[in-house]
């Protein structure tokens, strides 16, 4: 669908733009923090809108279920396929057909570039949770595309 592809193209262009070699320092290190921050700001703002019609969350797990269902559906048109937790603040969200990866690979080709395409989503989850008063660290793991795992470590104070 045309309106979906616009988002995907914009996303991949932002990544290309963020990774453009800076003439000043000339380092070849890949810096994805800009992309992650864009995701954080977007997640923070969209959360206010998405939770408007939602009753108050009972606990952290309830919040994570919301992320897996409604939040994910809103952005990626599908739900998370698997949610695991150790009940001590670690949650693993598995998406078997992650939208940003399905387009270009099915297997190991381009595997080394995969981290670029999950940074935005890590920020998005982190921003959304931050607005719900849950501080977290979100990392992603891609073993075989197009499936992807997001690890959420909730920081308790």
């Amino acid at each position: 669908m045309a309106d979906d592809i616009v988002f995907e193209l914009l996303h991949s262009e932002i990544i290309n733009y963020a990774l453009e070699p800076k003439s000043t320092n000339g380092s070849k290190e890949v810096d994805l923090s800009v992309v992650e921050y864009i995701g954080f700001a977007a997640g923070y703002k969209i959360m206010e809108r998405l939770t408007r019609e939602w009753p108050r969350f009972k606990d952290e797990l309830d919040t994570m279920k919301f992320i897996c269902t409604d939040f994910w559906t809103c952005i990626y048109k599908k739900q998370i396929d698997n949610l695991r937790t150790n009940h001590q603040g670690v949650y693993v969200l598995q998406d078997n057909a992650f939208r940003f990866l399905t387009n270009f690979s099915n297997g190991h080709q381009y595997l080394e570039y995969a981290p670029r395409y999950v940074a935005y989503t890590c920020g998005l989850i982190r921003g959304g949770l931050a607005n719900l008063c849950i501080n977290s660290i979100v990392t992603a793991e891609v073993q075989s595309m197009p499936s992807c795992k997001f690890h959420i470590h909730v920081q308790r104070t």
């Binding site: 703002k45 206010e48 939770t51 408007r52 009753p55 009972k58 607005n131 719900l132 008063c133």
Partner: protein
């Protein structure tokens, strides 16, 4: 009628306080802040009982009621009634109505609920403004205008 509307942030800092009317006790910023400030304790008390009741798994009907974002009448003074609403993101919305004005004595709960839900919608739009930084005061004139018209028309 509604005389004052306030948006309070996660850390209890005022993000927006707006009021209308020529009532002497609400026509200046300071007295509005004072009115809203007195409501915060009642608001947090209400939230705390919500959480503890959920933990002890009280009756189902009661729980669904407590999970409502709208918290109802927080308390009333001789001249004003103060209603509260807390979003999932811990933003507190407070609406103050005057109970002395002729139309103020018979405000229905449902009307206040609708007004606060619309205020929440306006707030969600306001923070999507790219010039607004989360946690800052809302200085958008559009938001101000919309809130004032909400206060005139709704309650």
């Amino acid at each position: 009628m509604a005389v004052c509307v306030a948006v309070i942030g996660k850390d209890n800092s005022p993000l927006y306080i707006g009021g209308i009317g020529n009532d002497t006790s609400t026509d200046n910023e300071l007295s509005r802040q004072w009115l809203v400030h007195t409501a915060l304790d009642a608001l947090e008390e209400r939230l705390a009982t919500t959480n503890s009741n959920n933990a002890t798994a009280s009756a189902n009907a009661a729980r669904t009621d407590l999970r409502d974002l709208y918290l109802g009448l927080l308390y009333s003074t001789d001249t004003h009634k103060i209603y509260g609403y807390v979003t999932n993101t811990k933003i507190k919305l407070v609406l103050v109505t005057s109970s002395t004005s002729p139309s103020g004595s018979n405000i229905r709960d449902a009307e206040v609920r609708t007004a606060l839900r619309r205020l929440h919608a306006l707030y969600a739009d306001a923070i999507c403004n790219p010039f607004h930084l989360p946690g800052d005061q809302i200085i958008s004139q559009k938001f101000d205008r919309q809130v004032k018209s909400l206060m005139v028309n709704n309650v």
